[in-house]
Subunit: 304 residues, 2 copies
């Protein structure tokens, strides 16, 4: 019933290997192994079992790891409480984001943060990696999903919605649809598309357009980087689905955005966290700042 040992079990559940846990907790694998063994003896039933050269949790181990999370949460609440008493939301907070969200939100957030609260940011390509898994490494993970679709439910992570961003159709100036105020799926038949990489969330909306319009879209290129996609659109090589608030920043006036009607076309930007980390005062402060910044961006954009 030792908390440190429970925490180790929890880390094992999250990271999947003794070595990874050891690395993350600044210990030798031997120390981790020993402590887990003690925990197992205390529990009186096997919590782990070998699988190949690795180690996996048993059902009992997983259940215990889950309740270890509750312990970690209440402990984090306690430390947050006394941070509030001293009212200093200080310390370091780490964050990963996908590029567009970082570009849209982070500069504003960092500008308004107290100097003694350092926010360490990094970016990752959302389609290359399992974003929820980053919650083991980073305090805050900015991720996006299509509306309604909660791809990271049930993992026991805390999900804080920050904003919903419409996805518009990006056109080059002079395009036949460029003087419309909005477009429908049926308008888009026959166009050449600059697509996103396979598996990217935008993909679903393109499929929805195909279903609605009753025709397949021709997809000439597939890119992950938004700026690259835009440059292709501007060059007249095709049209693309782009997030409204983060598009056209590089070459203003040369890219035309048209709202898409007849289909729900938006993405949700959320913050993902391990529940215990979400309780930290410094983390909560950053989240609050993110929410403010997000609504500020949304306000200023809809005002246009």
């Amino acid at each position: 019933m030792d908390v440190q040992r429970l925490e180790l079990l929890r880390e094992l559940a999250d990271r999947g290997s003794v070595t990874a846990v050891a690395l993350a907790t600044h210990r030798t694998p031997s120390a981790v192994s020993q402590q887990l063994k003690v925990l197992e003896r205390e529990a009186g039933l096997p919590l782990t079992q070998r699988q190949g050269r690795g180690l996996v949790l048993t059902d009992a181990g997983r259940a215990l790891a889950r309740s270890a999370t509750d312990v970690a949460v209440s402990l984090a609440k306690a430390t947050a409480l006394w941070d509030e008493f001293r009212n200093l939301a200080t310390g370091e907070v780490s964050l990963v984001t996908f590029p567009t969200a970082g570009q849209m939100l982070l500069p504003g957030v960092i500008k308004h943060l107290r100097p003694d609260l350092v926010l360490n940011c990094a970016d990752e390509d959302p389609e290359l990696s399992d974003f929820p898994a980053f919650t083991a490494e980073y305090d805050i993970v900015l991720a996006h999903s299509m509306s309604g679709q909660l791809s990271w439910a049930g993992r026991g992570l805390k999900v804080v919605p920050l904003m919903t961003e419409p996805l518009d159709v990006g056109l080059p100036v002079g395009h036949p649809l460029a003087d419309r105020t909005w477009v429908r799926p049926s308008d888009l038949i026959g166009e050449t598309w600059i697509g996103v990489t396979e598996g990217y969330p935008f993909e679903r909306i393109l499929h929805a357009i195909e279903q609605e319009a009753g025709a397949r879209l021709s997809m000439s290129q597939r890119f992950a980087d938004l700026a690259l996609i835009e440059s292709f659109v501007i060059a007249g090589l095709g049209i693309a689905l782009v997030p409204r608030y983060t598009s056209g920043g590089g070459q203003p006036g040369r890219l035309v955005l048209k709202p898409l009607r007849g289909i729900e076309s938006e993405r949700q930007i959320v913050a993902l966290m391990r529940p215990d980390r979400a309780e930290r005062l410094a983390v909560r402060t950053v989240i609050e700042s993110l929410r403010r910044e997000a609504s500020r961006v949304q306000q200023s954009q809809t005002a246009k």
Copy 2:
């Protein structure tokens, strides 16, 4: 943010002195003092302050102690969970009761308990001592209160209602009211009463009778022990307010119970626990058994 230290702070909040904490946790006062000092240094703000020769918590200390309870609860839940996995509700559970509840419930409970779950019982006089305070010493505290009146709210204790027991008017055989099916407050004017000790919960109902009947009751004796009261009633020295399910056991047929109408005359029997202890599997098992036994008693009595 060490759990053991938080636990110590919590104990200090509950018990009020370093020595008491040391005694309860099988340590020397020195050890407790040192750990509290470390905690205070970690917290960065004073958690305790001297008062006379004793020690009291500051506001911050109390707040931290409260969140320490949450930690203790989640930890207890974790250990309970793994006890469930091994499904052995084993170990020791301690319990205090006031005499009548113990007489009514405990034999039946202990009879149905697994032999490897030892229940250590004790009784205390409810008016002599602060019952909620016993939760520091015992896992389960059986207490009673008048209906509606929750004298132990807000202390952060877990309260589990077990049963409500009517309080009847006890009469000697041959008493003028003995052939009635029930009595009203106005019927009781002019009687001599055998009362309970000052401050006892029954007191409130006697006052309510006085208010309803519009006259003061004459109280000749004041006892705490029920059997003593009954013997006085049987001897014709007065009438008394007695709990229905636990009266007349000693000398059956010589005491007559009459329901009291026109006034709510009942007491609630509840179990009081520290919230963390309430989570222990063994404790939960005992509580469940108490509830079953209570409803069994209530069933068999109302069937008469």
